[in-house]
């Protein structure tokens, strides 16, 4: 009976315990934490299967909002609306509180040397995490040559035409995959 009374809060606490620390290390945004997030959500806590994680990732990209909204959807899977709200707060609030503190200091010391060093020192970490996130998603999706090819092609397209609307590119990905699946082999 004790278990029962705890059961509604335990998943919410677990969501906070997993997501809030990630909020503070997601340098470069959501993609930086996708690899460890899938490890926690799929393998450690078994909130969802690898297949479901990929589906949530895709839905989060198609729906409006930052890619980190993936956390919102994981929260929804774990505990419906309370889970979605708690997960959203857990993933956005810690980084936002840090950000407002730094914002206030930042404008005061703009142009100082340490200001530039901080930016230069953190940027390559964010870049490395971006690539690690890409590898994690591909591994998870069991992406064949088609998936890798499309991902790299999209990166190339956007490098050539940076103003291409991202929504258009996501649609292109869907069309290519559906076309390949629909053609009898």
């Amino acid at each position: 009976m004790d278990d029962h009374s705890n059961s509604s809060f335990a998943p919410l606490m677990a969501l906070i315990a997993v997501l809030a620390p990630f909020s503070l290390v997601a340098i470069g945004g959501g993609p930086a934490i996708f690899a460890p997030l899938q490890h926690q959500a799929v393998e450690v806590h078994r909130w969802l299967t690898a297949r479901e994680f990929i589906e949530l990732f895709a839905v989060a990209r198609v729906a409006p909002g930052p890619g980190s909204m993936l956390a919102t959807l994981i929260g929804w899977k774990v505990a419906a609306w309370p889970g979605a709200v708690v997960a959203t707060l857990a993933i956005f609030l810690p980084s936002s509180i840090l950000c407002i503190g730094v914002s206030r200091v930042w404008s005061r010391y703009r142009g100082r040397a340490w200001h530039q060093a901080l930016e230069d020192g953190l940027a390559p970490i964010g870049t490395g995490l971006m690539f690690a996130g890409a590898v994690a998603i591909f591994k998870l999706a069991n992406a064949g040559p088609l998936g890798w090819g499309l991902g790299i092609a999209v990166a190339g397209l956007l490098t050539l035409w940076p103003k291409l609307h991202p929504f258009l590119v996501l649609g292109l990905g869907a069309v290519v995959f559906v076309a390949v699946a629909a053609v009898p082999h």
Binding site: A123, A141, G147, W148, L150, V154, A174
Partner: protein
């Protein structure tokens, strides 16, 4: 330039801040939000200068968290302090919170369609492409210097290849990386 000009302008209402960021949230399909914030806040309304928002964009990228939520907090704080930041962030996040859950809910009904799995995989692969593109943009700047290049590769290998836990990796690498680019010879400036 110091931030002392705030008193001269009439305060921007919290309601207006809410409205601007709410609509950015509603239409923020597929990312690219920084450009939208710039257009609404600087180009259309002149609430901030180019220099101000550019420093905010840099800050948003360096700090942990989604770039657009960080930039939103930065702009909100600049316009109306803590209240402005809280209102702007709430307005930006609320529509996508509801809309992405509704999208997932709708997906639950239509996922029996077999081709939808292919479509979802295609969207996911293309979305990874967006991230690779961001990585390339960063890498092009990073590879000009040895220290940052090592930092980038070490981070990628530790997290992406060896699957080491992210938090300790960043906590160890970040101070080393900052030290490697720190302007130690300060008398030369």
């Amino acid at each position: 330039m110091t931030a002392t000009t705030a008193d001269e302008k009439p305060p921007i209402s919290l309601r207006e801040i809410f409205s601007v960021f709410f609509w950015i949230g509603v239409f923020s399909f597929g990312g690219g939000l920084t450009g939208w914030v710039y257009r609404e806040v600087v180009t259309k309304r002149g609430w901030m200068s180019d220099d101000e928002i550019l420093s905010g964009i840099a800050l948003a990228q360096v700090l942990p968290g989604a770039n657009v939520t960080n930039l939103t907090v930065f702009v909100g704080n600049r316009l109306r302090g803590y209240a402005g930041a809280a209102i702007a962030l709430t307005a930006l996040i609320s529509p996508p919170l509801v809309m992405c859950v509704l999208a997932l809910w709708a997906y639950g009904f239509i996922q029996q369609i077999s081709l939808l799995h292919a479509a979802v995989d295609g969207v996911a692969a293309a979305a990874v492409g967006l991230n690779i593109r961001l990585g390339i943009v960063g890498a092009v700047r990073v590879v000009r210097r040895v220290g940052p290049t090592i930092t980038m590769l070490a981070t990628f290998i530790a997290v992406g290849v060896l699957n080491w836990p992210l938090v300790p990796v960043v906590l160890v690498i970040a101070p080393l990386s900052i030290a490697s680019v720190w302007p130690w010879k300060r008398n030369n400036g």
